[in-house]
């Protein structure tokens, strides 16, 4: 099997399309995975998932409103981003109101997420009725499309990855305190509202741009699995973030290789690679502290 490895490298060197896929995958993996320890600690996995699925509503809306548009168009991405930001604000308000909230946070997310999906399906059906010749398969949305990536996508993903890293580096102490105990952080004078919405903004940007490349299924997975892995192998937040980021990039590249080598969908390969790393991390954790439950 290993004899085939150079052929992947050779193909990578020779094919700009594969290079872009490798870059885009690595950057999407880096952004999602860097955020994932905080997503896990803040128990926001469901919010990430909800936003990833809300993107479907935004996408349907964009395809319906923008006549003749395609899934790949940036205008479609822009509308999707706007829609997701609105959903994020609604979820953010619901999840911050605490005791005064009209409904439980997970119910609010569940409603936002399913209504968005329903709207997406409705708009796409309407669009299909209007212009059947333009429609792309919805598999692209669910599992991404590493084949249609342009330089513009790579640049955007790079910008988002840089923004995510910059915020995490500059504000990691506030994020740590906020994740530790939001009420206490607020009582101590930390502007928790600012960091709550900043974090949600990063999540939305990452989810919308990354799901365009790797699909919402993989984005949802990458917002959780690398974080769980990082927190299993490291006992402090910053090392856990680094471990998660490394896991994110490595799993995307390994998955991409697996996809090329065995001719399987990249999304599936990447998630399974992450799951194998999780199993290894669990074994490592057990070996280090055998008495742990």
């Amino acid at each position: 099997m290993s004899l085939d490895e150079p052929s992947f490298i050779e193909a990578l060197a020779a094919t700009p399309l594969l290079q872009r896929a490798a870059w885009a995958g690595a950057l999407a993996g880096l952004s999602c995975a860097s955020l994932s320890p905080l997503v896990v600690l803040r128990r926001m996995a469901f919010i990430g998932d909800g936003m990833a699925h809300s993107a479907f509503g935004g996408l349907g809306l964009a395809l319906f409103v923008l006549a003749g548009s395609r899934y790949e168009d940036f205008s479609v991405q822009a509308v999707t981003l706007g829609f997701c930001l609105l959903v994020a604000v609604a979820i953010g308000v619901a999840s911050r109101r605490g005791e005064a909230a009209a409904m439980a946070e997970d119910s609010a997310i569940g409603i936002g997420f399913s209504v968005s999906m329903a709207l997406g399906a409705l708009f796409i059906a309407l669009r299909q009725r209007r212009e059947p010749q333009y429609m792309t398969s919805m598999d692209t949305f669910l599992f991404g499309n590493l084949v249609n990536i342009g330089t513009g996508d790579v640049v955007l993903l790079c910008a988002v990855a840089l923004l995510v890293l910059a915020v995490l580096v500059l504000f990691h102490k506030e994020m740590l305190f906020y994740s530790f105990d939001a009420r206490l952080a607020e009582a101590s004078g930390i502007n928790t509202a600012l960091f709550h919405y900043l974090f949600l903004l990063l999540l939305v940007l990452t989810v919308v741009l990354a799901s365009r490349v790797v699909g919402i299924v993989l984005v949802s997975a990458s917002l959780v699995l690398p974080g769980v892995i990082g927190l299993k192998v490291c006992s402090r937040l910053v090392p856990a973030m680094v471990a998660a980021a490394v896991t994110g990039v490595v799993s995307f590249e390994l998955g991409l290789y697996g996809s090329y080598r065995f001719n399987v969908p990249p999304g599936a390969a990447i998630v399974l690679v992450q799951f194998v790393i999780l199993l290894l991390a669990t074994v490592l954790e057990r070996l280090r502290s055998p008495q742990a439950e």
Binding site: F180, S235, L237
Partner: protein, 290 residues
């Protein structure tokens, strides 16, 4: 619902001494359009004083602490802390140490004991500044004072309940507060842990000249350690040590919860009143019940 007239101590010459650290003037508060949680609450806590707050669940104790912390804005009245409106404390907020209810730290939370103590310096450091040697030293000192030295590099979530409470106090102490606000710090601790915590507070209070406000259901311990105890059930009822915690007063404040409460505490109360004879109303506000 208890309805009691509240009278504030006459701010005559006897009380003109130390400036109040907390000064609540006719404060009312309710969440949204729900019935008032606090109604015309009016009291002062002077420098170095230890105030115990008791009262039934839902009586407004935690809300009162949040008002003092400036996390909530009163619907009417004024909440003055260190001479300023609590809501606009700004930098002065670091002088308030807060130990919240239920500090249960998740077992695998990725922070060491020292990391958690250092959180006490974050607000003071502000954005884009990180703890340096000075902050680490302050955190280590707070851990020493709370008996947690040697545990700095262990995971905070692995500490016992009592140790986690002491860590919460250490974190609150790091910013060198003048006022320590504790919300039921002894809930979830066994009797030994509770008395250790009170002894620790007593020592810290003397060392740091702290003003302490503690919400607690541990009436017996408050009777021993607090200078004054106020019962809060929408309105506030005052008792200084001399007349503290008579059955009638507690029955009035705790209303229907009292029977179970008394079975548990009657004996302790009798013991306490046995060795602390009433000495009249030496100071402090009093209340009249309808």
């Amino acid at each position: 619902m208890v309805t009691a007239m509240v009278h504030v101590a006459d701010p005559g010459p006897a009380h003109a001494g130390p400036k109040p650290v907390i000064d609540l003037r006719q404060v009312s508060f309710s969440y949204g359009s729900r019935p008032a949680v606090l109604e015309a609450v009016d009291f002062k806590v002077t420098d170095g004083e230890f105030l115990g707050l008791i009262g039934p669940n839902g009586g407004g104790k935690t809300t009162l602490l949040k008002l003092v912390l400036g996390l909530l804005r009163p619907h009417s009245g004024e909440v003055l802390v260190l001479g300023r409106h609590a809501i606009a404390l700004g930098q002065e907020r670091r002088l308030l140490g807060y130990v919240p209810q239920d500090t249960g730290i998740s077992k695998h939370f990725p922070a060491t004991v020292l990391d958690v103590a250092l959180m006490g310096t974050y607000a003071n450091l502000g954005l884009l500044r990180w703890p340096g040697r000075m902050e680490r030293e302050a955190a280590r000192e707070a851990l020493r004072q709370t008996g947690l030295e040697g545990l700095e590099h262990g995971l905070a979530g692995k500490l016992s309940g009592g140790q986690q409470q002491r860590l919460a106090i250490a974190r609150a102490l790091v910013s060198q507060p003048r006022l320590l606000l504790l919300d039921e710090p002894t809930s979830g601790l066994d009797t030994g842990g509770q008395s250790q915590l009170f002894a620790l507070l007593q020592r810290l209070r003397e060392q740091h000249k702290l003003t302490v406000v503690m919400v607690s259901h541990d009436v017996t311990a408050l009777a021993h350690y607090a200078d004054q105890v106020a019962c809060l059930n929408r309105t506030i009822h005052w008792h200084d040590r001399s007349e503290m915690l008579s059955e009638a007063v507690l029955r009035k404040v705790y209303a229907c919860e009292l029977d179970a409460f008394f079975i548990q505490h009657r004996q302790h109360l009798e013991e306490f009143h046995g060795d602390a004879a009433p000495a009249g109303h030496a100071h402090g506000p009093h209340c009249e019940h309808e």
